[in-house]
């Protein structure tokens, strides 16, 4: 009986991951493609995904604090994140400097430096909330804590950035790190800020042509 329920829980968690992922995939591959400039329609999959995740947290009795919205584990999370972030940043800046493409004012083709923190500070934590606060937690229910669930999170994060090759590679690597850190010290703000900072460093260092304006999904071909 207990084993049956555990199996049901794992299956439910897996389906929750599927249900959350379909929104991202629909937004990238269907809505953006069929509606053209009508970006307001993108709010539909985004809203349904957010409502779904909130209701799921409620059904499972997860508090915002448990998920990682707060300062619990922030220092520990930052301690785990800083060394790899430093190494990767040095490598990226070095490559950018060597290739002559280093420009810390570059952000999605022309926004000012002042626009960077605002966008980054919101976008990074939001993405990491969905990825770690929801998908990672469900992956741990489905596959257990450890390498398998970390790999699943990273693979899904990379899949959401297909077919952009650079972003897919970068998000897979970043996904591995952030998922691993979140499982040891769950804190959305720390991994979100790390996401924002690393995105900025990557955009500032990697040649813009390689990143293809950060386009993902069907829009990549447009």
């Amino acid at each position: 009986m207990r084993e049956t329920r555990a199996a049901e829980d794992r299956a439910l968690a897996a389906w929750e991951i599927v249900a959350a992922s379909t929104s991202a995939l629909a937004a990238e591959w269907v809505v953006g493609t069929l509606t053209g400039r009508g970006r307001l329609l993108l709010l539909i999959p985004v809203t349904t995904a957010v409502i779904f995740m909130l209701l799921s947290h409620r059904a499972r009795g997860e508090s915002a604090r448990e998920i990682g919205w707060g300062l619990d584990n922030f220092v520990e999370s930052a301690r785990l994140l800083l060394p790899p972030m430093f190494v990767v940043s040095v490598l990226l800046v070095g490559v950018g400097w060597y290739a002559g493409t280093l420009d810390f004012r570059r952000w999605e083709g022309g926004q000012t430096l002042m626009g960077v923190p605002g966008l980054s500070l919101i976008w990074g934590p939001l993405q990491q909330y969905a990825l770690q606060g929801f998908i990672n937690r469900r992956a741990q229910v489905a596959l257990g804590r450890g390498a398998l669930s970390v790999l699943l999170v990273a693979l899904l994060f990379a899949a959401f950035h297909l077919p952009n090759p650079w972003l897919t590679f970068a998000t897979f690597a970043g996904g591995l790190l952030w998922a691993w850190v979140y499982q040891r010290a769950p804190n959305i703000l720390a991994v979100g800020l790390s996401h924002s900072l690393m995105t900025w460093v990557m955009i500032s260092s990697v040649p813009p042509d390689a990143l293809h304006n950060l386009r993902v999904g069907f829009k990549y071909f447009g």
Partner: protein
């Protein structure tokens, strides 16, 4: 720590050296666990159904706005000197109605259809600057604009016709 003990803990991150995640359903063997499970299953089904509705709705909308057949017509004559026929709008009058001629799959010329007759038919005629002798296949397409000109699609008028 056992599952039962884990389930009794109000906040799994408090009082532990190592943070771990709450697994509420497995921790509770009583009948109470069944209710949130069912609620969650319904929630997943509703979410996936909404996604399906969104995708299907967008597909139908796109077909209706962009790809639906909007013209009828026919190529009546095609020879080495030109191609002629008629075209009419199925959704009322479209003025001006742009047509494009393709020979063997390659764009040759564009023209605007004539004024509509009483039956709503508009005649069109493409004249070649140089005679096109030999075996060629002609196809004429009507240009259809949608979303206030943001999208332009070509819809074939009638069937293809070989030059005589």
């Amino acid at each position: 720590m056992t599952d039962a003990a884990r389930g009794e803990q109000p906040d799994t991150e408090e009082g532990t050296d190592e943070p771990f995640l709450r697994v509420p359903f497995s921790a509770d063997e009583s009948g109470r666990a069944g209710r949130p499970r069912k609620r969650l299953a319904k929630l997943i089904a509703a979410k996936l159904a909404l996604d399906l509705l969104l995708v299907c709705g967008l597909a139908v909308y796109t077909y209706a706005v962009t790809y639906r057949t909007a013209f009828e017509g026919e190529l009546e004559h095609a020879d080495a000197f030109g191609v002629s026929g008629w075209v009419g709008g199925l959704e009322g009058e479209v003025a001006p109605l742009e047509l494009q001629l393709f020979l063997d799959g390659h764009f040759v010329a564009s023209a605007v259809a004539g004024e509509p007759s009483q039956g709503g038919r508009r005649a069109f005629l493409f004249r070649f600057e140089q005679p096109r002798y030999g075996k060629h296949e002609a196809r004429v397409y009507a240009v259809r604009e949608s979303r206030a000109g943001a999208r332009r699609t070509l819809q074939q008028v009638g069937g293809p016709l070989e030059l005589k």
